[in-house]
Symmetry: C2
Subunit: 158 residues, 2 copies
């Protein structure tokens, strides 16, 4: 295999990360989800680019929308179901989706197939971004000192 030096990068040389920022019980619902942080590996700071592998039953995230972050996803292999307020659409290799900041249409991917799917997810980095989760008792909000996860009534998750 070719050995690359930055700015070129072989994504397979970037470590897989399986952590989630969600508190339980939400974290476990993500299932078999691994991310390679390609943008960070290249030294980028203004937006993130992750190569995500989503196993059968896995979810990209809880269904959510962001106040200040544009997001874009591009399916590289396999098949995922995009769920939004408007319903479900099945996206296969080469299909994409984009979620403008501030658009109150919550979205996520679910892998309902029997095979892993891979996709790129891209989002701009910005201070003060909040995220809302219409299906779950969670919101990601700023208290003036940074963002944290809270119940819908405002109480922080521990």
């Amino acid at each position: 295999m070719a050995q690359f030096k930055l700015p070129a990068l072989d994504p397979q040389t970037v470590a897989e990360v399986r952590r989630s920022i969600y508190p339980e019980p939400f974290k476990s619902r993500m299932g078999d989800r691994a991310k390679r942080r390609l943008g960070e590996a290249c030294g980028l700071t203004r937006f993130g680019v992750n190569l995500v592998t989503l196993g059968p039953g896995g979810q990209s995230a809880l269904r959510h929308w962001h106040t200040l972050e544009d997001e874009f996803v591009f399916v590289l292999s396999g098949e995922v179901v995009l769920v939004t307020d408007g319903g479900e659409q099945t996206l296969s290799t080469g299909m994409c989706a984009g979620y403008p900041a501030g658009k109150r249409d919550a979205h996520h991917f679910v892998n309902r197939s029997a095979k892993p799917a891979t996709y790129l997810e891209i989002g701009n980095r910005i201070e003060g971004d909040n995220a809302f989760y219409p299906d779950d008792d969670l919101m990601w909000v700023d208290d003036g000192n940074g963002t944290h996860g809270a119940h819908k009534d405002g109480r922080r998750y521990a």
Copy 2:
């Protein structure tokens, strides 16, 4: 073929754009290069995502670097040569590269193969970004009223 509705999108339904912001003689050097503006088609404003098809002999851009724009590219099919100050590296399907804003290492892709290559290019949108082109008599600079192309001695291109 499935008919998608936003936020999902089939890239093949987005019009190809072949224009270039460069003045001649630079514009013609891009060769067979077509872009589908996927991010814009989804309503995104904070970063751009283009699906680019680069024919044999085509170039992604003049070799350049940006002061305020992070850039990221991911090869979807075919093979391109990445040229930077450090030399040349050949990237095939699934390989990527990232160029942090302000890093003075000019870069571009050239297709030296006999087949088209496709890749995604992503960059954040930001006011006041300048671009510099070490191999050519061009710079993209701000005069306080927006950016324009200029010779290296500062004279505007007509």
